[in-house]
Structure formats: structure tokens, C-alpha cells
Amino acid sequence: MTMERHEKAYARWLAIGARIGFAALVASFFIYMFGIIPPGIAVTDLPHYWGLPVAQYLAQAHAPTGWSWVHRLPQSDVLNFVGVAILGATSIACYFRLIVDYIREKDWLYVWICLAQIVVLVVAASGLLH
């Protein structure tokens, strides 16, 4: 059985995104744990915060919401969010790749499904919803 062209491309992009995301996630974690780069919140202070509901944690620790973590880079605790963002962006990139194939094949129903999925993911990623 031959694999569909779309599935081949999707699998390739997914594999690349997942690998880069995991590498960033793990590398940044060890940078944080070993204090290689100074963090916004010291690891030794975390036990004061990790039992709090997120609203209280944000108020007391002045932790970032939305995309404001980008302005705090390269603090080592928010550096980890780069890996999370890469993992979160992987499916979006895969759908952009897919849409090209579906347009070429004039499979308009799946073009619309791709577009709708991209809109949903981008809106979720944007931080516009509260």
C-alpha cells in the first residue's frame, strides 16, 4: 500500500517540529535547573507557588501571561516556553503544508477544513481569547 502524498509530507513536517520542540524543551529545562542563565522565578522559590491556583500564582509571582513571556527572554524559566511554542506551532505548520497540496488537487472541501483548523489554532495561540 502506498502512503498518500499528503500523509508523507505531514509526517515529515510533524517529525521535524516535534524533534526541535522536544530538544528546546529539555535543553531549556536543564539550563533552568542548573542555573546556567538567571531565571525570573528561582527554582528554590517554586514550592511557595506551585500549590496555588493559577490566578493567585500569577498575582504573587508576577508570572507572564499571553505572549508577554517573549519580553522576558532569555530568563531561563520562560526559555522553556520556546519549546512549548514550537510544539504548539508544529500542527499549524503542518496544516499550511497540507493546504498547498489540497489546492493543487482542487479538493476544496479539505482546503476549507485546513483553513478552519488553522484559524482555530492561531486564535488559540494568539492569546486573544480570555
Binding site: P47, F81, V84, H130
Partner: protein, 285 residues
């Protein structure tokens, strides 16, 4: 919730790694995602607040789905065409669920989590012998979306034709699964597979693979919400992801030696204990 001063701060991520390593082994052998075990156990027996545990649970499920997705597609064991419309419904549901979960009072959430986890244990018990009712002809929606194809059945050395039926009901089911998954950070494999097999008539092997692919998209949308709302703590999610993924690798090697049915009974027992604990926490006991 446990008192964090019981152990030095660095012992908690190490303990988390050890527990999630075991969860990874059991989850693979029992054929379920790690998220459904992770959230009730870590929320019940670790000092982390449920908000962060749910965020970590979603990232855990997302990581597993992303890493297995390419292999499933290359092996012909997942249908991207089927996953796409279901994932669209599921990801909208997951965003709604994530916001609902973050807005709910902790007690209500713990109580609801306990009920959901006990219901999952019941679902696993009643579907433990599998049982497929394969779709023979596609419904109108499945025909319009082109939801049929073939996949390799390695155990028989054959190529098996598949299609689905009850597509509108399947879309609704995935939207509801998305809401529950996003709300509690449970992933969705525990419900996706029964929805695909029992409701839509997909062969089990293809359902497992397609479920993984669907999860990678559904969990992405909810994970963005948790990141934007500040509900992710690296000290919680990174050791957990590493533990479950390493455990899953060991679990795959043990798969041939250990009875999968026995592993499912262990999972059901663990879910009963963790669900019961969550219920008690919800009642303030």
C-alpha cells in the same frame, strides 16, 4: 494536596519522573494515553495545584501524540483524512473546555474530575473485551468527505478496506471529548478510540493510530490556552514528559511479555483509587 515541605524542592521533580516513568510503562501495556492516569494521580498525591497538573497533562498527551504521529502515518496505521474533520470539532471543544476548566472553582473541578475518572474506569471495564462493529457502507457525510481507504493488517498479512458511518454523531462526540480533555487535561485517547470503533465503525488498529493523530491537533489548541493563561510550570511538565516517554519505550519492550488484559485491570484499579481520591478532595475530605 500534600505539604511541599515534606521533601526538599528538588526531590519533587525526581519523584515525579519516577512515578511518570511507571505510568508510561503501564499506559503503553494497557493501550491508553498517559494523560488520563497522570492528572488524577499527580493532582491527588503531589503538592502541585490542579491548574498546573492539567496543563502538564495536556502537554504530556500532546508530546506523546506528536512523537508517535509520524510513525503511525508512515506505517499506514492512521488516516489523516479522517483525523482532520474530527480534530477540527475536537480542537474547538478543547479550547472551550480549557477556558471552562480554568474558570471553575478548584473544589468543583476536583469533584468533576473524580466523577469523570470513575466514569473512564467504568468505560474501560465495559469495553475491556473490545468488540468491533465495522462500518460496511459510508454515510452521506463520510462519502462526501471521502472517508474510506485501506490499511495494512500485519497480523494477517493482508490489506483491509475501511470506511466509517454515523459521521455527524462522531463529530459531536469528538467535540464533547475535546471539552472534557481540555477541561481536565486528560488527553483524549481513552474516549477517541471507543468513539471511532463503537460509534463510527472503524477497525481498532486504525482507530488507535487515528486517535493519536487527532490528539496531536486537539491538545495543541488547549495547550496554547494553558500557556497563554500562565498555567504551565516547567518543573512539572518536563520531568513528566521525560518520565512518560522513557517509560513508554520500556513498556513497548515489555509488551510481548506482559498480559495486556492484566495491565488494563491495573489501570482500572489505579483510576478507581485516583478518582476516589479526587472525589474526596472535592468534598474537602
Amino acid at each position: 494536596m500534600l505539604d511541599p515541605s515534606l521533601l526538599p524542592w528538588w526531590a519533587w521533580p525526581l519523584l515525579l519522573f519516577a512515578v511518570t516513568f511507571l505510568l508510561g510503562i503501564v499506559a503503553v501495556i494497557g493501550g491508553i494515553g498517559g494523560g488520563v492516569l497522570f492528572v488524577p494521580i499527580v493532582a491527588g498525591f503531589f503538592p502541585f495545584h490542579l491548574d498546573f497538573v492539567r496543563g502538564a497533562g495536556l502537554l504530556l498527551a500532546l508530546s506523546g501524540a506528536l512523537s508517535s504521529g509520524p510513525g503511525l502515518l508512515r506505517g499506514g496505521l492512521a488516516s489523516l483524512r479522517l483525523a482532520m474533520p474530527l480534530a477540527l470539532a475536537g480542537s474547538i471543544g478543547a479550547i472551550v473546555g480549557a477556558f471552562l476548566g480554568l474558570a471553575m472553582p478548584t473544589r468543583v473541578l476536583q469533584l468533576s474530575l473524580g466523577i469523570v475518572v470513575l466514569a473512564i474506569a467504568a468505560l474501560m471495564w465495559f469495553t475491556r473485551h473490545g468488540g468491533e462493529t465495522l462500518a460496511r457502507t459510508p454515510d452521506r457525510w463520510a462519502a462526501a468527505l471521502g472517508l474510506s481507504g485501506r490499511y495494512p493488517e500485519a497480523s494477517q498479512g493482508t490489506i483491509v478496506a475501511w470506511t466509517v458511518h454515523r459521521t455527524p454523531a462522531g463529530l459531536v462526540a469528538f467535540a464533547v471529548i475535546g471539552v472534557i480533555g481540555g477541561m481536565f487535561g486528560l488527553g483524549a485517547g481513552w474516549a477517541n478510540v471507543p468513539a471511532l470503533t463503537l460509534l463510527m465503525g472503524l477497525p481498532l488498529k486504525l482507530a488507535v493510530g487515528t486517535s493519536g493523530l487527532t490528539m496531536s491537533i486537539m491538545n495543541t489548541s488547549a495547550a496554547w490556552v494553558y500557556l497563554n493563561e500562565g498555567a504551565l510550570l516547567p518543573i512539572l511538565h518536563v520531568p513528566s514528559i521525560l518520565g512518560v516517554m522513557l517509560g513508554a519505550r520500556v513498556g513497548v519492550r515489555m509488551l510481548k511479555k506482559i498480559d495486556a488484559q492484566a495491565a488494563r485491570y491495573i489501570i482500572i484499579a489505579v483510576l478507581l483509587v485516583a478518582g476516589g481520591r479526587s472525589l474526596l478532595q472535592g468534598f474537602g475530605i
